[in-house]
Symmetry: C2
Subunit: 144 residues, 2 copies
């Protein structure tokens, strides 16, 4: 049963990394490639189900861990209790998040100075920066 999952960006990454391309992985890869937000596992699973209702949530969990270990996605933590995932783009496309505390809306941003600064801070402490978490939580400034 062909479904148009063969050409997704994430699927290509899997092939590049030598992962066994099973049907569930193809579908999950496509869903990730098509997602422009930061879905949690439950959201991913329901999107995946549309394409293939036989895929279990356990497989989504296992696949996300695999993709994380293979640097295909990153895990995000927006303060609610669950993990969210986002496809890794290139270094150029690196960004952070500001979460609107009123609406929960997530705004992505990139700041050159910030990138420089966090590397410098780690170096000054005697460390090479290997990862970081940064989320800002903000309340919209009243424009009235």
């Amino acid at each position: 049963m062909p479904n148009n999952t063969s050409e997704s960006r994430v699927a290509k990454l899997c092939v590049d990394k030598g992962l066994k391309m099973t049907e569930p992985r193809k579908v999950i890869a496509k869903v990730l490639s098509d997602s422009k937000d930061h879905p949690d596992v439950e959201s991913l699973h329901s999107r995946v189900r549309v394409l293939d209702p036989t895929i279990s949530i356990a497989t989504v969990y296992r696949t996300m861990k695999l993709f994380e270990d293979t640097n295909i996605v990153t895990k995000r933590d927006f303060g609610d209790g669950r993990a969210r995932y986002e496809e890794i783009q290139g270094d150029e496309d690196h960004h952070h998040h500001l979460i609107d505390v009123r609406t929960g809306k997530v705004i992505e941003f990139y700041n050159e100075e910030l990138e420089r600064l966090k590397v410098k801070i780690a170096n000054d402490l005697g460390y090479e920066l290997v990862d970081h978490h940064l989320e800002l939580f903000g309340s919209p400034i009243n424009k009235n």
Copy 2:
């Protein structure tokens, strides 16, 4: 049964904020005041048990939520699945964390430029910064 919990900094904060000062809260307050690390609820509970073995872990959870809502402690997330807590000092004592990925050691740091920058970023996006998460993960630079 007197125990030397009456004078802890956190206990004073509780009184200041008008919280009912029960025995469990006094003990938990003392443990927090004496903690210079970032304990999770299980660690807190075992420290609390030393002073009073009758205090349940449910009370520790409830009390930490209360202290969080009352701005006595802040919740931290270091990437392992559990919440960690730290007493709020003053604005001057605000800091962030760098986690050594080899040893798990947590290094606290403060950076003026960073403070300025994150407020500016939020403002530029049309938001007032109300909270933020920032943790750096680093690998020690080989000094050989």
